[in-house]
C-alpha cells in the first residue's frame, strides 16, 4: 500500500509476513524486520534496530494516527493513480483545515498560481490563516464566498494541474 505522511513524503509499505511477534515489512523496497508486541487494543511495543518504542495507533476516518514515544505522526492512504507523482498535484482541492470564516479570497477562477501562493484567508480561533497552494496549479472552481462560514474539511477551491506542468491529468499515462 502507499501512504503519505502528513508533513512528510509518500512511501510504499507492505507487510510481508510475521512469525511470533516479528513483523517483516518492506518500505520503499527496503526490507526490515521489527518486533511488534501488542499490549492492548491500539497499543504495542515496537522494536526497530534495537530501539524500543511505545506505539499507539488509531484509524480515524481518512487518517491514520500513530504515536511512537513522544513523536506523533499522521498518515493518509494514497489511492493508486492519485499519487503526487502521477498528477503533479498533491491535493486537487483546498479544504478547510478547521471550521472558520472565509475572510478573503485571493485568487479568481482560471488563475495560475505558484507553489506557496496564498489562495484564501480563513479566520478561525480569532486568527487569520492564509491557505496556500502546495504545488503550482490552476484555480478551477471557487466554491465559497467571502464571509461564508465553513466546516472542517469543506472543499473551498478546486485546483487542477498548472497548464505549464509537464503532465496533464487527461493525457497522463497510467501510473506504472
Amino acid at each position: 500500500m502507499r501512504l503519505r505522511r502528513v508533513g512528510g513524503g509518500e512511501f510504499d509499505i507492505d507487510i510481508l509476513g510475521h512469525e511470533g511477534s516479528t513483523v517483516r515489512a518492506r518500505i520503499d523496497g527496503i526490507e526490515l524486520s521489527v518486533s511488534f508486541e501488542s499490549i492492548a487494543d491500539g497499543a504495542a511495543m515496537v522494536t526497530v534496530n534495537g530501539r524500543r518504542y511505545r506505539v499507539f495507533g488509531a484509524a480515524l476516518r481518512d487518517r491514520i494516527l500513530v504515536t511512537a514515544g513522544p513523536m506523533g505522526f499522521e498518515f493518509r492512504r494514497v489511492e493508486e493513480g492519485r499519487s503526487q507523482a502521477a498528477k503533479g498535484l498533491a491535493t486537487p482541492e483546498l479544504c478547510a483545515p478547521m471550521p472558520g470564516k472565509v475572510l478573503r479570497i485571493l485568487v479568481k477562477e482560471g488563475d495560475e498560481v505558484e507553489a506557496g501562493a496564498g489562495l484564501l484567508v480563513l479566520e478561525a480561533m480569532k486568527m487569520e490563516t492564509t491557505l496556500a497552494s502546495e504545488t503550482p496549479a490552476r484555480v478551477k472552481r471557487i466554491l465559497v464566498a467571502e464571509g461564508q462560514m465553513v466546516d472542517h474539511g469543506a472543499v473551498m477551491i478546486e485546483l487542477s494541474p498548472s497548464a505549464q506542468a509537464p503532465s496533464h491529468p487527461e493525457s497522463a499515462p497510467p501510473e506504472s
Binding site: 502528513v6 501488542s38 491500539g42 515496537v46 476516518r61 504515536t67 480561533m125 480569532k126
Partner: protein, 505 residues
C-alpha cells in the same frame, strides 16, 4: 477592611485553569461550583467541582463570556465568591462590577483598577506617572497621528490593539509602504477579537526580552513582588515558554524592575495577583502593560517561592493579609503544550484524546485538563496543558524539561510537544540566548527530526491501515466504516488480522 469568609466559589472558566483553581479552593475547604458550555459537559473540571451548572452553547460569547448567565449561576448555587481565571471575562471591569453588585466577592483587583490598567492608553499614563520607564509611543488612535509618529521616531513601528492582550491585532510596520495595510488589518483583527477596533503605536525594539514582575497586594495596603519571569519565547506574541528567574539579569536591574512594579501597583491601590510586564533591551527596561489577573504562567513563580497564588488570591479576597514571601530558590521553566501542528504553520488541531501519557518525576508538574476521551475542538483556545519543571539550577530545570517532554505522548490531537522539546534541547536555549525573536531567529522552519520513531510509526500505520492494529476512534467508528481511503483496497497481507496477538479484543 471587612473580612468575609468565602464558603462557596464559582469558577467562571474552563480547561486547565478551572481545574487549577478548584484544587486550591478545595484545599482551603471552600466548596466549588463549575460552569460549563454544552461542548464541555463531559470536561474534567465539571466533575472536579462540587457542583456544576450549564451556562449555554459552545460559542464562548453565549457561555463563558455571558456575564448575566454566569452571575445568575452564582446566585442560583449560592456562591459567595467568583474566580474568573484568565481570558474570557477576567479583565472586564464591567463584569467585576456586576459581580460585586450582586453581592458576590470578585477574586481579583477592584473593577476601577482593572478598568484603569486594562485600557492600554490609560495604563501607560498611570505607569508614566508612577515613574516607570516607557518605550517611545504615541497615545493616540488616529491614523494621521500614527503616521506622524512613525516619521518622527523612524521605522519599524508597532501597531497594537488598544483593548487587547496576548498580541492579537499587533502588527510590525517595517516601512511606510506597509502602514496602510497594517492599520486596516490590525484594526479588523482587534475588532474581531475584542469588539473594539482602536489601535495605538510605539517604537519597535530590535531584540528585546519580555520580563514580567509578579505582584500581590491585599486590602490592608500591603503590596509585594514575587520575582520575575522571562517570557521571551513567543510565537506571534503568544508566550510558549516561560521561566523564573530571568537568566542573566543583574541584581540592580532586578531591584529596579521590582521597585517600578511596586510603585505602579501602589499608585492604583492594586489588590490580588497581577503582573507588570516589561520589555528589556540591554540595561534598559520599558513598561509594556499590566495584566490585572492571574497569568497562565503563574506556576513558575509558585515553584520558586513555594507558594500557591490562587490560594493567596482567595485569602486576600476574604480580607486576609498577603502571606510572608519566602526567599526564592532554584529555577522553574514552563512549556505550553498547544493543540497545533507546529510543522505545518501551527495550524490549529482538533480531535479526541485516544491515549495520553503525562510526564512525571522529580521537579515535574503538569497542569492540564487532558484525559482519554476529551474532545478538543476549535471553540476555545488551543492550550492543552502546561508542563513545568523545577531544578536547583536552570540547567537542571532545563534538562528535566527535555526528559519530561520526551515522556509526553498524546494520540488523537496534533500538538506542539515535539517542537517544544527541540527548543528546550537546543543550544541557544541552553545558553539562554533569549529575545522575543528567538523563534524567528532559530526555529523559523522547524520540522520534526525525520528519524526518531519514524520506521516504527510507518509499520504501525501499515498495521492500522490493514485493520490488524489500532484503536477505534473516540466515537466508536470501526476502521472498516472509516471511509474508503482506508478500507477500500486490501492486499492478501491485510488478512493478517487473523493473527490473534494483534487482534483488537
Amino acid at each position: 477592611m471587612k473580612r468575609r469568609e468565602i464558603g462557596k466559589l464559582l469558577i467562571a472558566n474552563r480547561g486547565e485553569i478551572a481545574l487549577r483553581i478548584i484544587r486550591s479552593a478545595k484545599a482551603l475547604g471552600i466548596r466549588t461550583v463549575a460552569v460549563f458550555s454544552e461542548a464541555d459537559a463531559r470536561s474534567p473540571h465539571v466533575a472536579a467541582a462540587d457542583e456544576a451548572i450549564c451556562i449555554g452553547p459552545a460559542e464562548a460569547s453565549k457561555s463563558y463570556l455571558n456575564a448575566d448567565v454566569i452571575i445568575a449561576a452564582a446566585r442560583t448555587t449560592g456562591a459567595d465568591a467568583l474566580h474568573p481565571g484568565y481570558g474570557f471575562l477576567s479583565e472586564r471591569p464591567e463584569f467585576a462590577r456586576a459581580v460585586a453588585k450582586a453581592g458576590i466577592v470578585f477574586v481579583g483587583p477592584p473593577a476601577d483598577v482593572m478598568a484603569a490598567l486594562g485600557d492600554k492608553l490609560s495604563g501607560r499614563r498611570i505607569a508614566k506617572q508612577a515613574g516607570v520607564p516607557m518605550v517611545p509611543g504615541a497615545e493616540t488612535a488616529s491614523p494621521g497621528e500614527i503616521r506622524a509618529f512613525a516619521e518622527r521616531e523612524g521605522y519599524p513601528i508597532l501597531i497594537k490593539a488598544s483593548a487587547g492582550g496576548g498580541g492579537r491585532g499587533m502588527r510590525i510596520v517595517a516601512d511606510e509602504s506597509q502602514l496602510e495595510a497594517a492599520l486596516e488589518a490590525g484594526s479588523r483583527e482587534a475588532m474581531a477579537a475584542f469588539g473594539d477596533g482602536r489601535v495605538f503605536v510605539e517604537k519597535y525594539l530590535a531584540r528585546p526580552r519580555h520580563v514580567e514582575v509578579q505582584i500581590l497586594g491585599d486590602m490592608h495596603g500591603n503590596l509585594v513582588t514575587l520575582g520575575e519571569r522571562d517570557c521571551s519565547i513567543q510565537r506571534r506574541y503568544q508566550k510558549i515558554i516561560e521561566e523564573s528567574p530571568a537568566p542573566g539579569l543583574s541584581a540592580s536591574m532586578r531591584t529596579k524592575m521590582a521597585e517600578a512594579a511596586l510603585a505602579l501597583g501602589r499608585s492604583v491601590g492594586y489588590r490580588s495577583a497581577g503582573t507588570v510586564e516589561f520589555l528589556v533591551d540591554g540595561d534598559n527596561f520599558y513598561f509594556l502593560e499590566v495584566n490585572a489577573r492571574l497569568q497562565v504562567e503563574h506556576p513558575v513563580t509558585e515553584l520558586r517561592f513555594g507558594c500557591d497564588l490562587v490560594a493567596e488570591q482567595l485569602r486576600i479576597a476574604a480580607g486576609e493579609r498577603v502571606s510572608d514571601v519566602a526567599a526564592p530558590v532554584g529555577c522553574a521553566i514552563e512549556c505550553r503544550i498547544n493543540a497545533e501542528d507546529a510543522a505545518n504553520n501551527f495550524r490549529p488541531a482538533t480531535g479526541t484524546v485516544m491515549h495520553l501519557a503525562a510526564p512525571a518525576g522529580p521537579g515535574v508538574r503538569f497542569d492540564s485538563h487532558l484525559e482519554a476521551g476529551l474532545e478538543v475542538g476549535t471553540h476555545y483556545d488551543s492550550l492543552l496543558g502546561k508542563l513545568v519543571t523545577f531544578g536547583a539550577t536552570r540547567e537542571q530545570a532545563r534538562s528535566r524539561m527535555v526528559v519530561a517532554l520526551g515522556e509526553f505522548s498524546l494520540l488523537g490531537v496534533m500538538n506542539s510537544a515535539g517542537f517544544l522539546r527541540d527548543i528546550v534541547a537546543s543550544e541557544p536555549f541552553a545558553r539562554a540566548n533569549l529575545s522575543t525573536h528567538f523563534l524567528d531567529q532559530f526555529f523559523s522552519k522547524w520540522h520534526p527530526a525525520e528519524t526518531d520513531g519514524l520506521e516504527a510509526a510507518m509499520v504501525a500505520a501499515a498495521m492500522v491501515a490493514s485493520g490488524a492494529f489500532g484503536t477505534r476512534n473516540g466515537r466508536g467508528a470501526a476502521p472498516a466504516a472509516a471511509g474508503p481511503a482506508i478500507a477500500a483496497r486490501r492486499s492478501p497481507w491485510d488478512e493478517l488480522s487473523g493473527f490473534e496477538l494483534w487482534r483488537p479484543r
